[in-house]
């Protein structure tokens, strides 16, 4: 009810402030303003094909290689250690071997920082390993030690919670977009979302980058941004649709709406990318991966909101003959 009230208020404002004659730029005007103009809707099968290709690659990688799940999901122990002197991969591996452990070692910061992942360690094993490490790989201060131990039960909980969170968010968004626009818009938006998430997951699968708990936050934020970008364009379509005349093409109107928002779509993504690159370059190891996931998701989100979501609406309207409200000329 509150929404409806707000709608009325806004509509009234528009009527007050805007004289009808000057409400809209013409299609030609919009086209002429963009140097790199191309028809985003007529060429939609190119984008659809491109997307299907990318999705296929991602899905193949996901099903054959899967994801490189970190200890947050699988359970395990992870050390983050800053050594006083540079160390070597071999020395750390030797320390692991000496106490009968296997694990992954990742060195950074000119080989002075190490991230070591093993199976969940008992306190005795852990102490023995850290002693061996001091001896074989070099000394470090315990002030510079970070350690995560995640039991298998907690890891499993995180996996199911992450999945639930995504389903809940998707249902809420689907319901809201259906309510505010139309069902086919919601389907277009959700398909675009799934696209962005599969691409992000796919990239992490192809390169086998490790996924930690923060990745879920990254994915859900991509969710938020991507839907936001799409809804802004839908909103413009809804607005332009009200002025659609009988002879006007629905395709052109959607294309116009996309281009009217192009500046905003690109600039918004750019500003967030600026923030993310700052986190990516300056942040620690864990925040780096978070930023990377978001960067990939956001770029995919820009692509889908501009070239996929609205084009899907056009396609669905053609197939299912959705009602397009037109003014009689």
């Amino acid at each position: 009810m509150a929404d409806k009230y707000k709608d009325n208020k806004v509509d009234k404002n528009i009527k007050e402030n805007v004289t009808p004659a000057a409400t809209a730029a013409s299609y030609e005007q919009v086209i002429s303003e963009h140097k790199f103009y191309f028809h985003t809707v007529k060429r939609r099968y190119i984008w659809f094909a491109l997307s299907l290709l990318m999705l296929a690659v991602c899905i193949i990688s996901l099903s054959y290689q899967g994801l490189n799940l970190g200890i947050d999901f699988t359970g395990g122990t992870m050390f983050n250690i800053k050594f006083e002197q540079p160390t070597t991969q071999a020395a750390v591996s030797e320390a692991l071997d000496s106490v009968g452990l296997t694990g992954q070692v990742q060195l950074s910061q000119n080989d002075t920082e190490a991230i070591i992942r093993t199976s969940p360690l008992e306190p005795d094993q852990r102490d023995a390993f850290l002693d061996a490490l001091q001896e074989k790989a070099g000394t470090f201060d315990y002030e510079n030690l970070g350690e995560d131990l995640v039991g298998p039960a907690i890891g499993a909980e995180l996996r199911s919670n992450a999945f639930k969170a995504m389903v809940v968010a998707a249902i809420l968004i689907l319901a809201y977009v259906s309510l505010r626009f139309r069902f086919i818009y919601a389907v277009g938006a959700i398909l675009a979302l799934v696209h962005d998430i599969v691409i992000t997951l796919g990239a992490f699968s192809i390169f086998q980058w490790q996924i930690e708990a923060a990745f879920i936050a990254a994915i859900l934020t991509v969710f938020g941004y991507s839907i936001n970008n799409t809804v802004v364009i839908y909103d413009r379509i809804r607005e332009n649709e009200k002025r659609l005349k009988k002879k006007d093409s629905f395709e052109d109107m959607v294309d116009k709406s996309v281009w009217q928002n192009m500046g905003r779509s690109v600039k918004t993504t750019l500003t967030v990318l600026i923030a993310l690159f700052a986190i990516f370059i300056l942040g620690g190891a864990s925040t780096k991966m978070f930023a990377l996931a978001m960067i990939i998701g956001l770029i995919s989100g820009l692509y889908t909101s501009v070239l996929i979501a609205s084009q899907l609406v056009v396609e669905f309207t053609k197939i299912f003959g959705g009602r397009i409200r037109r003014k009689s000329a």
């Binding site: 806004v10 404002n13 528009i14 402030n17 805007v18 000057a22 809209a24 730029a25 005007q29 800053k82 306190p123 201060d141 315990y142 002030e143 510079n144 030690l145 970070g146 350690e147 995560d148 131990l149 039991g151 907690i154 919670n161 969170a165 995504m166 809940v168 968010a169 809420l172 968004i173 809201y176 505010r180 708990a213 923060a214 879920i216 936050a217 859900l220 969710f223 938020g224 941004y225 839907i227 809804v231 802004v232 839908y234 909103d235 413009r236 009217q260 600039k267 918004t268 500003t271 967030v272 600026i274 923030a275 993310l276 700052a278 986190i279 300056l282 942040g283 620690g284 864990s286 925040t287």
Partner: protein, 413 residues
């Protein structure tokens, strides 16, 4: 009209500047300011899982409450300031967070030990357990001509009677003292002990003796505990992360400010100004609801800044469009804001859903991120729709005929 607007603008700038100035001290104060999370100041986050016994008796809520009280006592014995202890009855877990602790390893050991004290005969039969213990204190015994670190124990009256009976019966035999399944001492009883006082020997330092005294004083946990999750961050590591992420914030904000000014000129400056107001609202909001600042929280903050900028971009692109349609600046600003409102509302509500889902289902670190994002979205809606709008109106009111190029529109008059 003109002068009124200039005065309003000047006053607003001064008020915001003063607000920023007076916010810095209270918010960054190490004691009273925004508390830093464990990942930024060092500490340990521990999830202890109660394990059902071998006989399969279920763990009751009462067991959990007792365990909590005992753990609380142990934490206090460690001398940790503001510990956070929480019981999750559904999953039979106790969550403990200790910040700024010097030796996290020692703390973890003390907390998870069951610490069941027993006295056993040579055959291993339990004769007496620690439930009858009244007190335990660490001390130094110099009676042997050297420093022996010991724990003095004293029994309740009932325990004293029982202990006297046992030591009388077992005169000349060995009495094993066990903590859980570890024998800590196996002395031979030379005289019956009737006063209910005793001492346990064999500690290498006073600290070690004090640790055991804490364990004995707090009593045994009613259930055995295993570590389900441990997140430990050294103080120096936390400090480094804090500095790194603050650097990232500063660079991000400076670049975004420049970006806005380059693309939007005058409105860009207004946007940057309202970003400052936005940041004030978000940070004070987080402070008011008692949020702890964590690494994911900082990431959420940077993203929220991105959202706030986006709001301004939507409005300014609209204003640009309206100007290009040949409207006067005043009308363009009004139309830009009115038309953008619905867009902002719809697009931010959907983002809010994603943040809410994160908050409801996420783990604790993800929650910190979600809260910042939620407050960020609400604050950006507020500043974008109201504050920026007032400022833009006042500016246009100062000189309605100012050059349109100030708004980033090319070729305007």
């Amino acid at each position: 009209m003109k002068r009124g607007n200039i005065i309003k603008l000047v006053i607003t700038v001064l008020v915001v500047a003063a607000a920023v100035f007076f916010s810095i001290q209270p918010l960054t104060d190490p004691e009273q300011g925004i508390p830093l999370g464990l990942d930024l100041r060092g500490g340990v986050h521990l999830v202890l899982q109660a394990e059902p016994g071998d006989d399969g008796t279920p763990i009751t809520d009462e067991d959990m409450a007792n365990a909590r009280a005992i753990i609380e006592q142990r934490v206090n014995g460690l001398g940790v300031a503001e510990p956070y202890i929480q019981v999750d009855n559904a999953r039979k877990r106790i969550i403990v967070e200790l910040a700024g602790i010097e030796d996290p390893d020692q703390a973890v050991n003390i907390l998870k030990t069951t610490a069941k004290l027993t006295f056993r005969d040579a055959a291993g039969n339990i004769l007496l357990d620690g439930t009858q213990l009244k007190n335990a204190k660490a001390g130094v015994d110099t009676s042997m001509g050297r420093n022996d670190y010991v724990v003095h124990i004293s029994f309740t009256p009932e325990g004293s009677k029982e202990f006297a009976r046992i030591t009388t019966e077992m005169l000349g035999q060995q009495l094993g003292i066990y903590l859980d399944e570890n024998m800590i001492q196996n002395p031979t009883i030379k005289d019956p002990i009737v006063d209910g006082e005793g001492q346990i020997q064999g500690y290498s330092s006073l600290e070690e003796a004090a640790q055991y005294a804490v364990l004995l004083r707090s009593g045994a946990l009613p259930v055995s505990m295993s570590i389900a999750e441990k997140r430990q961050v050294g103080a120096q590591l936390g400090f480094d992360s804090l500095n790194k992420s603050l650097d990232a914030c500063v660079y991000a904000v400076v670049l975004i400010f420049l970006f806005m000014i380059i693309f939007y000129r005058l409105p860009g400056i207004v946007a940057n100004f309202s970003l400052i107001v936005f940041a004030l609202i978000v940070i004070w909001g987080l402070y008011a609801i008692g949020t702890v600042l964590t690494l994911p929280g900082i990431a959420g903050l940077v993203l929220a800044v991105g959202m706030a900028v986006d709001l301004n971009i939507i409005v300014y692109e609209r204003i640009k469009e309206e100007i290009k349609l040949g409207k006067s600046l005043r009308a363009a600003v009004d139309a830009g804001f009115s038309r953008a409102f619905l867009t902002l509302f719809d697009s931010n509500i959907t983002t809010l859903f994603a943040a809410l889902a994160l908050f409801l289902l996420g783990s604790s670190s993800i929650k910190g991120f979600a809260i910042t994002l939620i407050i960020g979205i609400l604050a950006s809606l507020f500043t974008g729709i109201t504050f920026t709008r007032w400022i833009m109106r006042w500016i246009v009111g100062v000189n309605p005929r100012m050059s349109k190029s100030l708004f980033g529109v090319k070729g305007g008059i």
